[in-house]
């Protein structure tokens, strides 16, 4: 009888140790799909114009996770792909998504009014934030994150096109720039990276 009690206890200890090591191993094994900033660096603040024509600063969102992207609303391929991916990321994050905000900065001030940018991003998510600004403000906001963009004159019915870098910049609630995600990374991989960072934060 006494021997059986021992066996049961041993079983529980071994079980717990097994689960703990699997959890530890999985965390230790995490490979980021994005490019990690190690150590994290302070996220440069940027100030642009919101849909009410009011100045808007990134520091407004301190305390939340921010997914910062740059693009333009006449962009039919890359920008909708990125915004759709981020919509799915938020869906897949479930309850954790309420602490995550998507911010889209237009690099096309000539065509994108503040109201137009906001309407555009709202189609991808109710709480997505669309911003624009003067050419100077946009240039400063782009330079802060190493975003490059240029007008490309082409023979197309849409008028000119824009070339631009299409990374997603991940900023944590302490306004630290943690991760840079290249174009084309699939939503589940972005979710894995975010959840890993969020779990580190919670520990």
């Amino acid at each position: 009888m006494r021997r059986h009690w021992w066996l049961g206890a041993l079983g529980i200890v071994v079980g717990v140790a097994l689960v703990a090591s699997v959890v530890w191993w999985r965390n230790a094994q995490h490979t980021f799909a994005g490019i990690i900033n190690n150590p994290p660096q302070a996220a440069p603040d940027i100030t642009l114009t919101d849909s009410d024509g009011q100045p808007w600063s990134l520091s407004n969102l301190r305390g939340q996770w921010v997914l910062l992207v740059y693009g333009y609303t006449s962009c039919p391929d890359v920008c909708p792909a990125t915004l759709s991916a981020l919509r799915r990321v938020k869906e897949q994050l479930g309850s954790q998504a309420e602490h995550v905000r998507v911010v889209f900065v237009s690099v096309d001030p000539e065509r994108d009014t503040a109201a137009l940018v906001q309407e555009y991003v709202s189609h991808f998510g109710d709480d997505f934030i669309g911003l624009t600004g003067t050419p100077e403000a946009i240039a400063a906001a782009a330079a802060a994150y190493g975003v490059r963009y240029e007008v490309v004159k082409v023979d197309s019915a849409v008028g000119y096109l824009m070339s631009h870098t299409a990374f997603v910049y991940v900023i944590d609630p302490q306004s630290q720039w943690r991760l840079t995600i290249p174009f084309g990374v699939k939503p589940p991989e972005i979710v894995d990276d975010l959840q890993y960072l969020m779990n580190l934060e919670a520990q």
Partner: protein, 147 residues
């Protein structure tokens, strides 16, 4: 045993042929599968359609133009990733190599729908008519969906 193997092979070929016929569209070796278009809630913003075009024939072909009832202008474009810089430009055509395929996908080749006649909503389907240099016209149906 030998007969049975041939029967198996025969039904495999027949199956393949049936699959090819039931896809979005096919003509003279050219077949289109997985055709879809992105929802475009704002008609003033261009839409995009994507698909896989396969060429089962022994000669190269080229997609040279497309039309659709939902857009006044349709252009073929290519996005290239040039060291992180996403550059998009119209192209004259999209090569479909003999016994090969062309993938039209986000961040690559796409069919751009300009001056939409109406908003494109997820769940509906649109019809596109593709024109190939060799194979001529091919009608395909694309599902509008969030991807």
């Amino acid at each position: 045993m030998k007969i049975r193997r041939w029967t198996l092979f025969g039904s495999f070929v027949l199956g393949l042929w049936l699959v090819a016929c039931s896809s979005a569209g096919s003509t003279a070796g050219i077949a289109v599968t997985e055709a879809w278009a992105r929802p475009s809630p704002m008609v003033e913003r261009a839409g995009a359609a994507y698909m896989v075009i396969t060429n089962g024939g022994s000669t190269d072909d080229r997609l040279i133009s497309a039309t659709t009832e939902v857009a006044a202008t349709v252009e073929l474009h290519e996005t290239k990733n040039e060291g992180g810089m996403m550059a998009m430009a119209p192209v004259d055509g999209i090569m479909i190599p003999a016994n090969g395929q062309a993938d039209l996908e986000p961040g690559g080749y796409h069919i751009m729908l300009i001056d939409l006649t109406r908003a494109l909503k997820a769940g509906e389907t649109i019809t596109l008519v593709l024109t190939f240099e060799q194979a001529g016209e091919l009608q395909v149906t694309a599902e509008v969906r969030d991807e």
